[in-house]
């Protein structure tokens, strides 16, 4: 993180990501919250790019911006009473405590850990390496995840089937 461009990009993206994430909690309108969530996802994708993880960055946009947020939007619009407001909830106190504990843990771990500084330059091509790792070293977790997704898909079809 020595050159100016990376530092400037990092701080801009960090402000966008964290600011948008805060707005997700703060805004009253749930659809606005989803749109801020999308902005936050895009910021995270930008951060991946500064880490020269191009494949992960693009996958972040493809999956989170293109699919997950659309799923959230569908869920929002198909549930009654939703899309009106970010209503008051009795879980506010516990949620705050949980968030504070989580933040403290992550912060503490980040400070305490003795991070390795990468000596090599950026990866030349990450996609091929990821593909090789998924189908070679990590083939079992990969297959388990595939079976899980297949089961979820079959389950969804069974649930909406009418007869």
């Amino acid at each position: 993180m020595t050159d100016v461009g990376t530092v400037v990009a990092f701080w801009m993206l960090a402000v966008i990501t964290v600011g948008a994430a805060l707005m997700v909690v703060a805004v009253r309108n749930l659809v606005h919250a989803v749109l801020f969530l999308v902005l936050s996802f895009i910021g995270v994708a930008g951060l991946y790019i500064t880490l020269s993880a191009d494949f992960v960055a693009i996958a972040q946009i493809l999956i989170y911006v293109g699919a997950i947020s659309v799923l959230i939007i569908f869920a929002l619009l198909l549930t009654p009473r939703a899309s009106r407001d970010n209503a008051e909830t009795f879980l506010q106190g516990p949620a705050l405590v949980l968030a504070a504990v989580f933040g403290l843990t992550v912060g503490a771990v980040a400070l305490v850990t003795d991070w390795d500084v990468a000596g090599r330059g950026p990866f030349s091509e990450t996609a091929a390496a990821i593909g090789e790792a998924l189908l070679d070293k990590y083939v079992l977790p990969f297959e388990i995840a595939s079976v899980l997704l297949l089961a979820a898909m079959v389950g969804a079809i069974v649930l909406v089937r009418e007869d």
Binding site: H32, D54, I58, V70, A127
Partner: protein
């Protein structure tokens, strides 16, 4: 490419001039200057190509569809009605851009601005010539898919913020279409990636140039699937259920007027150019044309291919009637998806055969081309017959989700 001189005055590839200028800039200024300047120059070049193309094609499309449908088309403003687009633009600029009282003000304003972003950004990774590429990403093909998927959010923003039932229905239809057609679209692109063994678009064009072929011949099925899915993504007429005039006024941009509507209108053309450019790059060999690129600038070849593909879209718009939403949705899941899956399987087998046995490309590629063409025809016909002959009990009784999204399923109105 031995004959490319890499001199700044070699106009066969404008990348040479830009590269020389940036090198000079790098010698003279600080490190970050060439990057910034190249980004700005790239953006300007893309916009300078898109806006005039849109002006010309907005006129050409109306004339062409007029001819197809035995009408005159615009012929009053200027010679052959050439100035019609200029007149229309002035009209759009001077009209009031109404914001309805119950609209969600911020999102309503933001949507027409953001709608241009995905289709313009696509051009950043497309090679106009051998060196004329703003960013030759290693994950270019994935980038195309990712940027295309962002469209759904923009359309939803426009439709939801209008606070109008037609706008919301149009937006939900479009989102449903986009997430359905994204799958066959990406699977169609995967065949290209398996053949070329790279996701960089510059690399894919170089592969086609090296083997002196177009992926169109190796992937006939995928090209057709991609064209159909692309036509859904930019919702032009055979698949424009998101703004079907006879059903839901104008879909997600019903409430937009003036220049804000103009942005959606331009966005539709930019999206069309983007899809046409992707087809030209991935399947038609981009800037290469069997040696002709030594004499004719590569960017002219690329633009010619792009406009030819766009002309195909205009032809489709002029001749084909609009599909019903449940037909279109079923087509994606029951027809395109299985065919693209089989296509990928076959491509994988072929590449495995080719590389394991170390066969000569000159023998193998024509054989693959013939095999894939036969396979495409046989599969399409067989699958269509299979679906058409399915017993009535196997067909869905009513398109449930479709009705909830606002479609009228004929014969089952009750």
């Amino acid at each position: 490419m031995p004959l490319f001189l890499a001199q700044w005055w070699d106009l066969r590839d404008l990348g040479n001039a830009a590269g020389a200028f940036l090198e000079w800039l790098g010698d003279w200024g600080p490190d970050w200057l060439p990057y910034t300047v190249s980004a700005i120059v790239g953006c300007l070049a893309i916009v300078l190509f898109l806006v005039p193309s849109q002006f010309v094609f907005a006129w050409a499309e109306r004339r062409l569809i007029g001819r197809i449908q035995s009408r005159l088309g615009p012929n009053r403003v200027g010679p052959f009605g050439l100035l019609q687009t200029v007149a229309d633009t002035i009209k759009l600029l001077t009209k009031e851009a109404i914001t309805t009282r119950n609209a969600d003000r911020w999102v309503f304003w933001l949507a027409p601005v953001v709608v241009l972003v995905p289709s313009v950004v696509v051009f950043a990774v497309l090679p106009f010539g051998e060196g004329m590429i703003v960013a030759d990403l290693n994950v270019g093909v994935l980038f195309l898919a990712a940027v295309g998927s962002v469209n759904a959010i923009v359309v939803f923003m426009a439709g939801w913020s209008s606070n109008n039932k037609f706008a919301l229905l149009g937006a939900m239809r479009e989102v449903a279409m986009l997430i359905s057609y994204e799958i066959p679209q990406v699977l169609a692109l995967l065949g290209v990636v398996i053949f070329t063994n790279t996701m960089s678009l510059g690399g894919i064009v170089r592969w086609q140039d090296h083997y002196n072929t177009w992926l169109l011949f190796l992937q006939p099925l995928a090209v057709v699937v991609y064209l159909i899915a692309g036509s859904v993504e930019i919702n032009r007429t055979p698949t424009d259920i998101a703004e079907a005039e006879s059903e839901i006024v104008a879909g997600y941009h019903t409430e937009y007027s003036g220049i804000k509507f103009g942005f959606f209108y331009a966005g539709e053309y930019f999206g069309g150019f983007a899809i046409a450019a992707i087809v030209a790059t991935l399947y038609l060999g981009g800037w290469s044309l069997w040696g002709l690129e030594e004499w004719v600038p590569g960017w002219i070849i690329f633009l010619a291919k792009l406009y030819a593909v766009f002309w195909l879209f205009m032809w489709m718009r002029g001749t084909l009637p609009r599909l019903r939403i449940d037909q279109l949705m079923g087509f994606a899941w029951k027809f395109l998806l299985p065919l693209t899956l089989i296509n990928i399987f076959v491509v994988g087998l072929e590449v495995l055969l080719w590389q394991e046995n170390d066969l000569a490309a000159g023998v193998v590629l024509p054989a693959f081309a013939v095999t894939n063409l036969v396979l495409a025809v046989v599969l399409t016909v067989a699958w269509a017959r299979l679906l058409g002959h399915a017993r009535p009990g196997l067909r869905p009784r009513r398109a449930r989700l479709m009705q909830e999204l606002g479609a009228i399923v004929y014969g089952q109105e009750s």
